[in-house]
Symmetry: C2
Subunit: 317 residues, 2 copies
Amino acid sequence: MSPESRIGVVGATGAVGTLTLQLLAERGYREVRAFASARSTGRTVRFGREELPVEAATPEALGSAGLDLCLFSVGASASRELVPGATRAGVLCIDKSSAFRLEEGVPLVVPEVNGERALEHDGIVANPNCCAIPLACVLKPLAEAAGIRALRIATYQSVSGAGAQSMERLRAQDPAGGNLGMDWDFDGEELEEETKLREETRKILELPELRISATCVRVPVLVGHAEAVWLETEEDLSPEAARALLDEAPGVRLAELPTPREAAGGDDVLVGRIRRDPAARHGLALWLVCDNLRKGAALNAIQIAELLLAPRPIAAR
Amino acid sequence: MSPESRIGVVGATGAVGTLTLQLLAERGYREVRAFASARSTGRTVRFGREELPVEAATPEALGSAGLDLCLFSVGASASRELVPGATRAGVLCIDKSSAFRLEEGVPLVVPEVNGERALEHDGIVANPNCCAIPLACVLKPLAEAAGIRALRIATYQSVSGAGAQSMERLRAQDPAGGNLGMDWDFDGEELEEETKLREETRKILELPELRISATCVRVPVLVGHAEAVWLETEEDLSPEAARALLDEAPGVRLAELPTPREAAGGDDVLVGRIRRDPAARHGLALWLVCDNLRKGAALNAIQIAELLLAPRPIAAR
């Protein structure tokens, strides 16, 4: 994107939308407009040193606002309603909901992992789930080096992943009342979050048959998602070799015992505890953490936008 | 034990010691004395409707107090100092620290799993780590039915596992400051807690070669430890068959999405989310939670004591 790109931020009053505005201001964008549901119109939101009025997000408003690109951080049903109105008017849409992620023809993009796929879009690029993004950043170099046969993942997901209201509830609660939760739709076998993590990881890594078993858990932490990961590889990969690959991987930083507090506010995926998994013939265990609002959502979407609006010839534009 | 058994509670002012006194009172024991480090003498501790004076725990005091049995909930170095004084005087010692757990000739006991081993003691019975106990309760019937080849475990351990002071720190903290932690000794490869969990699980289940990979994590929850578990079995075991076995397992209760809050204050290990692990040829994933202060510590130790002091002929007494 250039500073002149006209950008709409939809869902501008939420946890991810607020951070999206902050990151756009920090990066020097000037032509930014804020949209949210009708009940937020009349409010303003912070954009650098300015306050932007919140405009009502309707398909018509988004289509007629003269935007180059729209960043959506709203729920899947709102995205399904709003995104087509914007794409019809030629506005490039980066959608952070699950609405389009698995649709054929919609690239699902982590720039460090499969950025080239973003260029194949037909008006929509989807931003993956907040656990799938850091996982893909870490797995990509390992998969290229040794192949991945199977994955087991236990997540430790902060409440900010459930939105600004959940953050307020955690802030207001007695710390002794902290609990673990599994606050996602449950079909009796699997949480919806686990299905997303599996299907999206397969799509991003382009390994459609990859065997993945995930257990997703909400923890009483404000910001920062962590994942305990076991990966079985096709060929042997030593912890030292994996560490060397990850030390070179874009967007990834090695750390000894990384925590959400260490990751929060930063752009990197922190990875540590890389060791052999004695339970597998060829396997590694590792631990990763990232700021779920930044690399897990707002930052990744802006990085996609910057790939697409780069000041260079882009095939799909 | 009979109500007349003379029981010493060592570490009586700590989180587990306090609960041990409560459980002994609830179970009708009357001849109970409380011991702690010298700096706590002069204080009293609650025992049912009474207050007991805290006596200084020294090897001599424990050996000369006319006790039948002593329940130790102190650190490993204090146990190493105190337990021999008591055993020399013929006091049966149930030790909750890691001091003797892996020693040959010291039974490491979960009554529902290997209670018969308790009878082989030579003065000391060890109580396992707070994550190893519920894990063994759940794995035992599955191992008997299908054999276990390998285990992967991610823990979600509450701060009460780190003692009363950690509980106070969590109570005093801003909820927004919650973080994950790995507050155990770290050798650069593995946390001491993970080594314990592996070695103790092998000893309890009498599977000395069992391949186990664990990632242990502290979560900002007051009471209740949870574990996401993947087990590879020798033979096929369907989730339905596993559920039926666990429904019959002593000390275990099936639940759909059990949480620490649901487990806290109860005696059962709650287990749910039993499903196939698509990453293994024969494998299951499951999720378990238990009150780490009760079944994970104080209750399990009292159950061991009750096995040993049962009003029936006991070989090793």
